[in-house]
Symmetry: C2
Subunit: 197 residues, 2 copies
DNA sequence: ATTTTCACTGAACGCCCGTTCAATTCAAGC
DNA sequence: GCTTGAATTGAACGGGCGTTCAGTGAAAAT
């Protein structure tokens, strides 16, 4: 993958981040060396440091960008209506968004351990924001009487775990289309949250 | 943690496996060196190879033992009755068993990547056996009419993800007792599986 | 045509890795 | 007290790690 002599490699920050994301997702942060990333980009290892402070930043930026994008995308959809509808909307959004970014999702869940304590706290804060979005729907549903959950905090964790779990087995082109998977999960989510039929 | 001069360290296979399990869970397989494990056991690195073939075996044995114990424990409980009761039993068993072995569970979910392909397939087979236990309950419930799930395969994945998610946040001595958490999750699981009220 | 700029190389730094094995140490059997 | 044999050490092997930086060479500016 060495670049042709006589031409610049023209590596860029974005390309480096994409490559690192892909390799981290495939082999794990600890198992991927800066030399491997560099080879994949078509450059020597030392050149990477023109585009990133260090290896840790590659991981943190990937996770941070993903979580920020997740929050921004959800807020942009800004669902209206009663809590039952908003919950359905959330479930469909979550499955759709996560299915489209399997690599980033995988990293965001598996590589938390490899963040420095400070970076870990930052990612944790972003995740809490996202969870708070779901919890506010459940609380609203409780108040309205459209949803009945035994404990909004636990229901939040339970539903997110259930929805995120889709990423461990869903593959485009499998037995069920993504739309069909959405429908099935919406059904289970609404039932779990005690939506009135 | 060096052993006292003049006395044998008396390390044993079980003690080594326990230490490796603890360190792998805390820091990750890739981040733990054989020298660290040896130091924790109170021995030089070379001595570990009297008790394990290699580092990979420490990981595989930990995961394999955990999955075998999980299957054996579930089969020993051998619940009778209708599918609704068996599903409740399964949910309580899953939460209880997993809460008691947080380290092993964490490894079994996070370190699959670090298994050789052959070992990965073996662990995958054990996991499939466990999932099949839940799926057979859901199918029975569907046949009996005591449960209503849109798709037994997806419901299996969804419920296991939901139940296993408990391990990411549950800590003994927190806001809710384990029994209370069990009750709440049973409620959500039964609702998600369309149990008749 | 010359100078300047700067992306990039390639070698080096110090360190840690999993694993092996000859040498040593020590408890037990005689 | 001596021999035996197993448990353990400690050094070594070959290799890879993240990161730094003086030097290089091609493009851009003059």
């Amino acid at each position: 993958m060495a670049r042709k002599p006589g031409s610049r490699a023209e590596i860029t920050g974005p390309k480096l981040r994409e490559t690192a994301l892909r390799l981290f997702a495939r082999d794990g942060y600890a198992a991927v060396s800066m030399r491997q990333i560099a080879a994949e980009v078509g450059v020597q290892a030392g050149a990477l440091y023109l585009y990133t402070a260090d290896k840790q930043s590659l991981l943190f930026d990937a996770m941070s960008d993903h979580m920020e994008a997740l929050l921004a995308a959800w807020r942009a959809e800004a669902p209206k209506g009663d809590a039952r509808d908003r919950l359905e909307h959330f479930a469909r959004f979550h499955i759709r968004f996560h299915a489209a970014r399997a690599d980033a999702v995988f990293i965001a869940y598996m590589e938390l351990r490899n963040l420095t304590p400070e970076n870990f706290a930052r990612i944790g804060a972003l995740r809490s924001c996202y969870e708070a979005e779901l919890e506010s729907i459940l609380r609203a549903g409780q108040d309205e009487g459209t949803l009945t959950v035994p404990d909004t905090k636990l229901a939040t964790m339970a539903l997110i775990a259930m929805l995120t779990g889709v990423n461990t087995w869903f593959r485009e082109g499998g037995r069920l289309s993504r739309d069909r998977v959405e429908d099935i999960y919406v059904d289970m989510v609404l039932n779990a949250a005690g939506a009135r039929v």
